[in-house]
């Protein structure tokens, strides 16, 4: 590819939005969530290790304590955004037919919101003990 034979049409170049219609924003946020993901993943692994073999009552108490709950919430939200972008990138690489692309992008959003919200809800319930 060279300057005179661009892969994208002129209108696509002007809009500079790429196949996901959203430009380089996702590229940047994938980096932001990666950087945040490193300490949060270490935190998650430490928390899980500390909970191994404990009774349900102890697990509920520890997961609902402020610092642990906040780390868990940060991990879940950060990971949800990261995996949403990541799966979108995979879909855009392999699914080219417009209908299936749209449907799988939609399924990706549903999955991430479902799993993310369920996890956040669980932590909040453990924290506030309703």
């Amino acid at each position: 590819m060279n300057e005179t034979e661009p892969m994208r049409t002129p209108m696509r170049r002007v809009r500079a939005l790429g196949p996901a219609r959203s430009g380089t924003g996702h590229f940047w946020y994938q980096r932001v969530t990666s950087v945040a993901g490193v300490p949060l993943t270490i935190g998650l692994l430490l928390i899980i290790t500390a909970l191994l073999g404990r009774t349900h009552a102890a697990v509920v108490q520890i997961l609902g304590s402020p610092i642990v709950a906040i780390i868990m919430l940060l991990f879940i939200i950060n990971t949800a955004y990261h995996m949403w972008i990541g799966m979108q990138e995979i879909i855009l690489d392999y699914v080219h037919e417009e209908k299936w692309k749209m449907l799988s992008l939609m399924a990706n959003t549903f999955f991430v919101f479902g799993v993310g919200l369920a996890s956040v809800y669980a932590i909040l319930k453990l924290s506030f003990g309703v």
Partner: protein, 142 residues
């Protein structure tokens, strides 16, 4: 492959150039690790279901939690969790490698190989350490 000659004719139906895909390249460590990074990412994507299930069971009550503990303690559960641990650590270290590359460092042939090998050895080592700690020090899941 697209017909390159017709690509020069002016008109509406001008075919776009097509680049060769993965199958013509010899597999190299950096390339395989790049693919593994994506595969572990996709696996972790669905693995988040496990985390959600575990958290929801803890929030639901002792019986639900006991079911999850039973599954996680079973042979299949342990294998899944072991794979999950490795995938998570490998994806994390691979991510750090990519962040280093984002700063335009580590692109020399020897550096590339070293970083990629460090990702693999690091993830396996950390996984084993974590599981030994999990079993010996904490008593392991009951």
């Amino acid at each position: 492959m697209a017909d390159i000659e017709t690509g020069t004719t002016r008109g509406a139906a001008r075919p776009r150039p097509i680049s060769p895909h993965l199958q013509i390249y010899k597999p190299m460590l950096t390339m395989v690790m790049s693919i593994v990074h994506r595969i572990t990412g996709a696996a972790l994507y669905f693995g988040m279901l496990l985390l959600a299930w575990w958290l929801l069971s803890a929030a639901t009550g002792p019986n639900a939690y006991a079911n999850v503990e039973w599954f996680m303690g079973s042979l299949i559960g342990q294998l899944v969790l072991f794979g999950y641990t490795w995938a998570l650590l490998h994806h994390m270290l691979g991510g750090i490698r990519h962040l280093i590359w984002d700063t335009l460092h580590g692109f020399e042939p020897a550096e590339r190989e070293l970083l990629t090998l460090a990702t693999l050895i690091g993830s396996i080592t950390l996984t084993l350490i974590l599981w030994v700690v999990g079993y010996l020090v904490m008593g392991g899941p009951r």
